[in-house]
């Protein structure tokens, strides 16, 4: 082989290596992650009676409630049997590093209740805790010991700045309480990847799902978990329906 041929071959080989290496190092979610999973969660059976909450120990709770009565939120069922506060997430099938949403999740103390009652967040995603009330609250989450998440107990007085919290590990689910208002109770579900929480009608939507076949899990604090398989294609929103059996 002549010299200029050797040089060209070497350069070509190097370029080839470079291109392969580039392709290899690219994260698996190379294609646009614009897939969606949407659906509803229903409760099959009568909605259990939710006891009204008596907030008289702190009259200032009433100031931010505007007269709306409060009731327990462990099972919230909408008009058409839709089950609220169900976290729907992908438990199997996701691969590679998933981008953590830059927008923080908001967790508010309003009218002496947590809004939302169940919040889903990715590990490493920021959570902003706000106190909208005219009274102090303390935020006391109790993650599993040894699970990678740290417990804390912090109070927010009236007018206090927001708290910024991130969770290190997946955990389904971290109970969080206010000790000053013992009826205040919520769940923080820390899961990787796209997720959604069903609203008052039981509707949920997962966004930015890369195409693929997955196991979808729905979790409810009282009824446990259900799973189903779902396939997401480019441009075609996938549908999933869940139905929990009432007790």
């Amino acid at each position: 082989m002549k010299t200029h041929q050797r040089i060209a071959a070497t350069v070509f080989a190097l370029l080839l290596l470079f291109a392969v290496g580039l392709l290899w190092s690219t994260p698996g979610v190379g294609a646009a992650a614009t897939g969606q999973i949407a659906g509803t969660v229903k409760l099959d059976g009568p909605a259990p009676h939710q006891k009204p909450i008596d907030m008289s120990k702190d009259p200032s709770c009433a100031q931010t409630r505007g007269g709306t009565p409060a009731a327990g939120e462990s099972v919230v069922v909408g008009a058409n049997g839709g089950l609220a506060n169900v976290v729907v997430y992908i438990s199997q099938g996701l691969s590679g590093d998933l981008p953590i949403p830059s927008k923080p999740v908001t967790f508010e103390q309003r009218g002496c209740q947590y809004v939302p009652h169940v919040v889903a967040v990715n590990p490493g995603q920021h959570m902003t805790i706000l106190n909208d009330d005219k009274t102090m609250h303390n935020i006391h989450p109790e993650p599993k010991p040894g699970g990678g998440n740290n417990a804390f107990n912090k109070s927010q007085v009236v007018g206090a700045p927001p708290l910024d919290v991130t969770w290190a590990s997946e955990e389904i689910a971290i109970p969080v309480k206010c000790n000053v208002h013992p009826w205040m109770h919520a769940f923080i579900v820390v899961v990787k990847g796209p997720n959604g929480v069903s609203d008052a009608n039981g509707s949920f939507k997962l966004e930015n799902v890369p195409p693929g076949t997955y196991t979808l899990t729905a979790w409810h604090e009282a009824f446990g978990t259900m799973t189903q398989k779902v396939t997401v294609a480019e441009g075609k929103p996938a549908a999933a329906e869940f139905s929990f059996k009432g007790k």
Binding site: H140, E142, N153, K154, G159, P161, N179
Partner: protein
């Protein structure tokens, strides 16, 4: 007797900064080290109280520096409720232990007791040095709690179990903060026990020739009695603290019963008794307040004769036996802290009787001081002004005790600000005024300079009026049911008391500011004060029969002999204890 007693080892004057001022076995240096530590602690404790009072009266006020000290505890300078409780806990802990127990007893006692008994040093100088440094490390541990993420504990200086025993699930600061606190107190206990031992042995064994117990200076008597009370009381606090540490770290349940639920989680303890903690703590806690006040009795009793120019009524016996009675009775009254605690109501009556009876020796002491003024040649130098102030404050504080000593009246006033007013008067203010009296009195002896009289008097007037403004008002809001240890006043019945809260806060800040007059005087006089003579007050006890300050072995090689009691004052004239001259006839 003195002839057969053990002599303290004579030590050659130490060389070098470290042996002279830092790790010194010289009781005078150790005494000044204790006084310096307690002065630093006092300013820290006071600063904490200013922050607390500001928050109570002006809850939205952004306190400067606080947000910087703890962004967690005071975001933007506005305290969280748990941080208020943490500051309150450390205020009580620092003041009760590192100021009030340290200064009048360990501070003055260390400097003066060996000199007053005519010895060259304490019986165990190295043990003495150890006591100070152990106390110092204890203080560092307490201070350290401010710099850990969750901050100091919030359970009060009384640290009741189970709140103090179950760990961080009970609240912020209840993790590492409470653990550091327990170890800090344990070290303080050990140091106090060692110190008490030293005081007792020195007083019994190292008295110089002629110094019988009947000729002992009244301050020495008080330190001696106090050392016994200290020995017996701290000996109970130490195991109490160890049991608490075991519950926290060792999985035991001395103080934690079963079935406790925090944050919907059942706790893994069972079989313990929270009341056991209260009994152990208060068995120490009540004598502790007398450990604090007895040296004050002694200092004032010692100072009075110098400035009334005659002995106390009843001589050394009446006041001293009153002190012994108070010290002894202090061990059988602890249940009056527990009238509504769930303890048997019958026991409440049993504790109430000696609690009321302890009034009698206290009244005897007050009568001795007050009626010694009759027919006296009263001089109003600053030490005497403070001693008189002490008497007034102690009367006021003691009167509040009548309400708290009876279970029926205590059932309304317990845990109200009435209690806070009461103990600040008796334990805080009286003892502090006596400490100031001692400071102004013995400063010339300790530092060879006189403190400035004008500044001293100004400090007195501002402090005397200030303390009544702050702490008498607390008694009054207590009658209205104002609850103590609240970080904010949100209940309907507390709102009308806010003007009183603001009055107390402003008074407290002014009172705090006036203490800087004292600080300035103390530091400035050290360098610029007029040089002090050996005996600037015309007093009689042995410390005035040596130079100001004394040489390293206290008496420059002399072996003193005592011929008189400590109160040979006859108007202008006085007879020193060591003077061979005969007493004036009729005394």
């Amino acid at each position: 007797m003195a002839e057969t007693s053990v002599q303290a080892a004579h030590h050659a004057a130490p060389q070098g900064f470290i042996r002279k001022y830092l790790f010194s076995v010289d009781h005078k240096v150790i005494g000044i080290q204790y006084l310096t530590l307690s002065m630093v602690a006092a300013f820290v404790g006071m600063a904490l109280s200013w922050a607390m009072r500001l928050h109570l009266a002006y809850p939205d006020f952004r306190i400067p520096l606080l947000g910087w000290l703890s962004p967690n505890g005071a975001p933007n300078g506005v305290m969280t409720p748990e941080y208020y409780l943490s500051l309150m806990t450390m205020h009580g802990t620092i003041m009760a232990f590192f100021v009030l127990t340290a200064a009048p007893f360990a501070g003055f006692g260390n400097f003066l007791l060996p000199i007053q008994v005519g010895a060259a040093d304490m019986a165990f100088p190295r043990l003495n040095m150890t006591s100070f440094w152990v106390t110092f490390v204890g203080f560092l541990l307490a201070a350290a709690t401010f710099f850990i993420p969750d901050g100091p504990p919030l359970s009060g200086w009384t640290a009741y179990a189970p709140l103090s025993a179950v760990g961080s699930v009970a609240g912020p600061g209840q993790g590492l903060g409470q653990t550091l606190w327990v170890f800090s107190i344990a070290l303080f206990c050990i140091a106090s026990l060692l110190g008490a031992l030293n005081f007792i042995v020195t007083t019994l064994d190292l008295r110089t020739k002629g110094l019988t117990l009947s000729r002992l200076p009244l301050s020495t008597w008080a330190w001696f009695i106090d050392a016994w009370v200290s020995l017996l009381a701290f000996a109970v606090l130490l195991p109490c603290g160890l049991l608490l540490a075991l519950d926290r770290l060792g999985g035991t349940s001395f103080f934690i019963p079963g079935g406790l639920v925090f944050n919907d989680q059942l706790q893994p303890h069972s079989g313990g008794s929270p009341l056991l903690f209260q009994h152990l703590f208060w068995f120490f806690g009540h004598p502790e307040v007398y450990i604090i006040i007895l040296p004050a009795f002694g200092i004032v009793s010692h100072i009075f004769p110098t400035f009334i120019r005659k002995p106390l009524v009843g001589g050394w016996k009446v006041i001293t036996f009153a002190e012994i009675a108070v010290g002894t009775l202090s061990f059988v009254v602890w249940g009056h802290h527990m009238f509504v605690s769930g303890m048997s109501p019958f026991m409440a009556m049993v504790f109430s009787v000696p609690t009321l009876f302890i009034t009698i020796p206290s009244v005897i002491a007050v009568l001795v001081w007050v009626f010694s003024l009759y027919g006296s040649n009263l001089r109003f130098d600053t030490p005497m002004l403070y001693s008189l102030g002490f008497v007034s404050l102690f009367i006021t504080g003691g009167i509040g005790g009548f309400f708290l000593a009876q279970p029926s009246t205590d059932s309304y006033l317990h845990a109200t600000s009435f209690v806070v007013g009461h103990f600040h008067f008796t334990m805080g203010l009286s003892a502090i005024f006596a400490t100031f009296a001692g400071f102004y009195y013995w400063y010339p002896k300790m530092f060879g300079r006189m403190m400035n009289e004008k500044l001293g008097k100004l400090h007195f007037w501002l402090s005397f009026v200030g303390v009544y403004c702050v702490f008498m008002t607390l008694h009054l809001t207590g009658f209205a049911g104002s609850v103590r240890r609240y970080s904010a006043f949100v209940d309907d019945f507390m709102i009308p008391l806010m003007p009183a809260q603001r009055f107390m806060t402003i008074s407290a800040l002014l009172l705090g500011a006036s203490q800087f007059i004292f600080l300035f005087n103390a530091i400035w006089s050290r360098f610029k004060g007029p040089k002090a003579a050996d005996n600037p007050w015309g007093a009689t006890t042995l410390e005035w029969d040596t130079t100001s300050p004394p040489p390293s072995d206290n008496f420059g090689g002399r072996q003193l002999t005592v011929y008189h009691g400590p109160m040979e004052y006859h108007g202008e004239a006085s007879v020193m204890q060591t003077s061979p001259a005969a007493s004036v006839a009729g005394t």
